[in-house]
Subunit: 269 residues, 2 copies
């Protein structure tokens, strides 16, 4: 992959994935395809961003299916490195995004964003894309990628891709595959609760405690849902806020069955 | 500077400096000039790599003189960013080289190598050189730059430049300017002591404690010299060793007057 950008002409786009592709990823590919001359997509289930207790080893990947999706969506180069290719016998250098990596999602997945930042810097250096897509579903990851791109002068334009949802509002995620029928029905309550929050804000409720308590009460009605965190945060720092400002983001993580699902909604006043 | 490599043809070399140029830097420029089609040299006194108690504000730079040296030595592009250009209102992302940054020199300058690693990654991303020079005088820095280049897949070849010494063996350093005549004479004892160590090893003394005690006793004879650390380390990990292996590096830091000076010598058996 080395020095690809210097060899390829035109705009090079990268869509980095962990595999387990769904329509959300396909939307990334479509946007990137439109904006580029050469479309590179990667599949790398990055061990650095999974903790020992997480689902690295059971992550539902289907390489053959994923490669077909790449082909169908105009991917020019598929980059599927293995762990040895990426990390050799292991690496000691890490990219640490700082405080933002320790709050909100970062508090519940310690080390996760360091793993993400490190692999993204590596992928950017290996592939040297002009543009790369990241999804708003992983809002904190998106902000962190924007930060490190700026902070380390990475020469890549970050393209934000909106969250794709199914017909019931469930945000598409590879981990939705873990859900059985009943659990999937419960998972749809998440988006309903986010919209409840939005309605409360539209009705001038600006106290985050009241908003989140309302959502907690609503989600408690479903026995299958266990909230890991539910916070309203500053969308650039991801620190919790008590009274809504101009720009706010409600972020949520829940466990349903084997799945840990995250979602978010902008609550601008 | 953005995207320079894509615009320039041929091999782009970078010689990164803190300014305060001396013949050591000139040797870097000469080597880099020979190996490249476009020679870029930078001066950036990186605040991230200085602690609050160090000499950031008194570092002896003479920009006019330095630029003349660049010109005389065939520098095609001089890159002299200011702190705002490099860090804006401050950055939160850092590049952490891991354990190697915490031992030896890193133990006495906490945070130093994180500052170095972060600015080097930034400079590499901004300038995108094919090759870059780093000096063996800063042996641990050199090893760290090699590590991060490998670990983060930075597409830059690191060129090692040997330590340049004056006629008395004193390793050239910008900080030698802090020395008065008597102190400079004392500073020359450092290289003498390194050669003593080499002689001991040539005479089959492989116990590091005995070697370092000999040097300590020798340097104690000079009242102006205060040893900060004196260690024999593994040259790739910079962890201390008790019995010499095949490859060993003696590293030393001393204070003489206002100057903190470092040096090192390979002690291979």
């Amino acid at each position: 992959m080395k020095d690809l950008r210097r060899k390829l002409s035109g705009t090079v786009a990268l869509v980095p994935t962990l595999g387990g592709l769904h329509n959300g990823h396909i939307f990334h590919l479509k946007v990137a395809k439109k904006k580029s001359d050469v479309l590179i997509a990667s599949i790398f289930l990055n061990p650095l961003q999974f903790s020992a207790t997480e689902d690295l080893n059971s992550y539902p990947i289907d390489e053959k299916k994923d490669l077909k999706i790449f082909k169908k969506n105009g991917v020019d180069i598929a980059f599927l490195p293995d762990t040895v290719e990426m990390y050799g016998k292991g690496i000691s250098t890490i990219v640490n995004p700082g405080k933002i990596a320790t709050v909100s999602e970062g508090k519940y997945r310690p080390g996760h964003f360091i793993g993400v930042a490190t692999v993204v810097v590596k992928l950017f250096n290996l592939i040297q894309p002009h543009i790369a897509t990241f999804g708003q579903k992983d809002a904190q990851q998106l902000q962190i990628i924007k930060n490190i791109t700026q902070d380390l002068s990475l020469n890549v334009k970050i393209i934000e891709i909106p969250t794709i949802r199914d017909e019931n509002g469930l945000a598409l995620s590879t981990r939705n595959q873990y859900l059985n029928k009943a659990e999937r029905k419960s998972a749809c309550e998440i988006y309903k609760s986010l919209n409840m929050a939005k309605k409360l804000v539209d009705n001038k409720e600006f106290k985050t405690k009241i908003i989140t308590e309302n959502i907690r009460d609503f989600l408690k009605l479903d026995n299958l849902i266990s909230i890991e965190y539910l916070e309203i945060v500053d969308p650039t720092t991801f620190t919790s806020i008590n009274i809504l400002g101009k720009k706010n983001l409600l972020v949520i993580a829940v466990h349903i069955g084997k799945a840990r699902l995250i979602d978010n909604i902008i609550l601008n006043t």
